[in-house]
């Protein structure tokens, strides 16, 4: 019903009255598929507005988690969590959690470093290597520091 209303709003081909809204949309989507196949490059569907950016179809991964103290199991604030392969970094929040999107790779080395001196306790740095299955979009880590 929604589609019927949309069509009746006048957004469709005004010169060609349509008998059935369902048929109309089926036909238009069929056209779309045909265009898609023949254009091959997908260029018809990939575009950027004049004063806009390229569209984003890049693959990335949400890496999130918590850095905790090995002894107290409490979250640690102010720990630098970084992805050395691309230079991205973030810092843990007051509860030790962190979150960052990063370029998708099959394997990551995540470095965890105490950079604030004695402010939130002193901890040894740690590297964690993770392997990422192709099907997942995010990964949740729990990293203990001593």
């Amino acid at each position: 019903m929604k589609n019927l209303q949309n069509h009746q709003s006048g957004s469709a081909d005004i010169n060609n009255p349509v008998v059935s809204a369902r048929g109309f949309f089926r036909r238009n989507n069929l056209f779309r598929t045909i265009f898609g196949i023949f254009s091959l490059s997908g260029i018809m569907f990939t575009f950027q507005a004049c004063y806009g950016t390229p569209q984003d179809f890049g693959l990335d991964l949400l890496v999130q988690g918590k850095v905790v103290s090995g002894s107290t199991k409490e979250g640690i604030q102010g720990i630098k969590v970084s992805v050395p392969s691309n230079g991205q970094y973030t810092e843990t929040a007051s509860d030790g959690t962190f979150m960052l999107y990063t370029e998708r790779q099959p394997e990551y080395r995540i470095s965890v470093t105490d950079t604030d001196g004695a402010l939130n306790g002193v901890y040894q740095a740690k590297d964690t290597v993770i392997t990422v299955p192709e099907t997942i979009e995010s990964i949740d880590l729990r990293i203990e520091l001593n």
Partner: protein, 362 residues
């Protein structure tokens, strides 16, 4: 007036017409601009939005925008939509990273158009962490010309530094845009060499629409011969596969250069694939389109309703087959060109690229 199209171009353009008509009927939302601020840290001579250092329109609260995008996501698959933050200068907002995380949480991709002036390595890192996927940076000439146009003696250096940062960030789909004017038309090779050193891969060249502040700056408008020179430069560049790859923007129908000076054919997708939420909540298509074409406001209307039930002048352009367009052989391919070139209130086309290219007239 001969359009100068090859037989191949005519066949392809005729096929593309069907695609365009079909897409106008379906109008799937794929691209959503958000004019997230009208504040700007520069005062450019060619600014289309006429933005100010201290805008009288306050920034839209993030929650108002995110509430709207949450409703959009219920109707339009967010994974297919890139939300483009524009301005003003988006980097003047301090809450971009929080907004970015929330957009990703809702399922959207997001990107940003910037003059680069305030982009630092830390800020870019913060934004990429928040799921930023694409960036466009403006560079409008070599040092003197860019600084003149941008009204700031340090803007060229900073823009170039921002471009280097963006180019190094592998996650980002990025490009540089250059607004070509009477000064810069003579320095295109120099600009390209400068860009090549930054590592950026894609370069889009624009002309400047006589709207906003640019309406009062005749030096910013290319005449027919200069426009042809620009087309020729881009064509040769693409033929020689120069890096960064130059292409003409999708701002206008360019007749014999269609499919040559840019990938694909002209299609003004405003209101067909492209919607926008402007600083005051207005719902429109590209932010530089005449504001008399605003279709609603998020503070009074439901965006999804407006997208489905309004936008008629965007999806059926027959209203603009008037004046010179009514007798133009190419109307079927361009449908009056980019909507931002129309003074909708007075039903007047500000300029026609095709006409300039073919006749060489000012």
């Amino acid at each position: 007036m001969s359009a100068g199209l090859t037989v191949k171009q005519r066949i392809l353009l005729n096929t593309f017409r069907r695609f365009r008509k079909n897409e106008s009927a379906l109008h799937p939302l794929r691209y959503l601009f958000w004019e997230c601020t009208l504040r700007c840290n520069l005062s450019c001579l060619h600014c289309g939005s006429d933005c100010l250092t201290n805008s009288s329109i306050p920034d839209m609260p993030a929650e108002d925008f995110l509430g709207t995008t949450a409703r959009i996501a219920k109707v339009h698959p967010p994974a297919n939509i890139t939300v483009v933050l524009t301005g003003g200068e988006p980097l003047l907002r301090k809450d971009l990273a929080e907004i970015g995380f929330r957009l990703r949480e809702q399922g959207f991709r997001w990107s940003m158009v910037t003059n680069g002036y305030a982009l630092t390595p830390d800020r870019l890192n913060q934004l990429v962490n928040a799921g930023l996927g694409a960036v466009t940076v403006s560079l409008d000439g070599l040092s003197d010309d860019h600084n003149w146009l941008r009204n700031n003696p340090d803007s060229h250096r900073r823009a170039l530094e921002a471009i280097r940062l963006v180019a190094r960030q592998g996650r980002l789909n990025s490009d540089v845009v250059t607004c070509v004017n009477k000064r810069t038309i003579h320095h295109l090779e120099g600009i390209q060499n400068e860009l090549a050193e930054t590592g950026i891969r894609n370069w889009r060249l624009f002309t400047i629409s006589p709207i906003g502040r640019a309406a009062n700056e005749p030096e910013l408008q290319l005449d027919g011969e200069e426009l042809k020179k620009l087309m020729h430069f881009i064509r040769e560049n693409r033929k020689n596969r120069e890096v960064p790859e130059a292409s003409f923007s999708c701002e206008a129908y360019i007749g014999p250069y269609e499919g040559v000076a840019r990938e694909g054919f002209f299609f003004c997708r405003a209101g067909v694939h492209i919607g926008s939420i402007l600083a005051d909540g207005s719902i429109s298509a590209c932010p530089n389109i005449d504001r008399t074409l605003v279709q609603g406001n998020i503070y009074q209307d439901d965006f999804n309703d407006v997208w489905e039930k309004q936008f008629r002048p965007f999806r059926n352009r027959s209203w603009n087959r008037i004046h010179e367009c009514s007798i133009c052989s190419e109307y079927k391919f361009c449908e009056g060109g980019g909507l931002h070139e129309w003074d909708y209130g007075n039903l007047r086309l500000r300029r026609c690229h095709f006409n300039k290219i073919v006749t060489g007239e000012p």
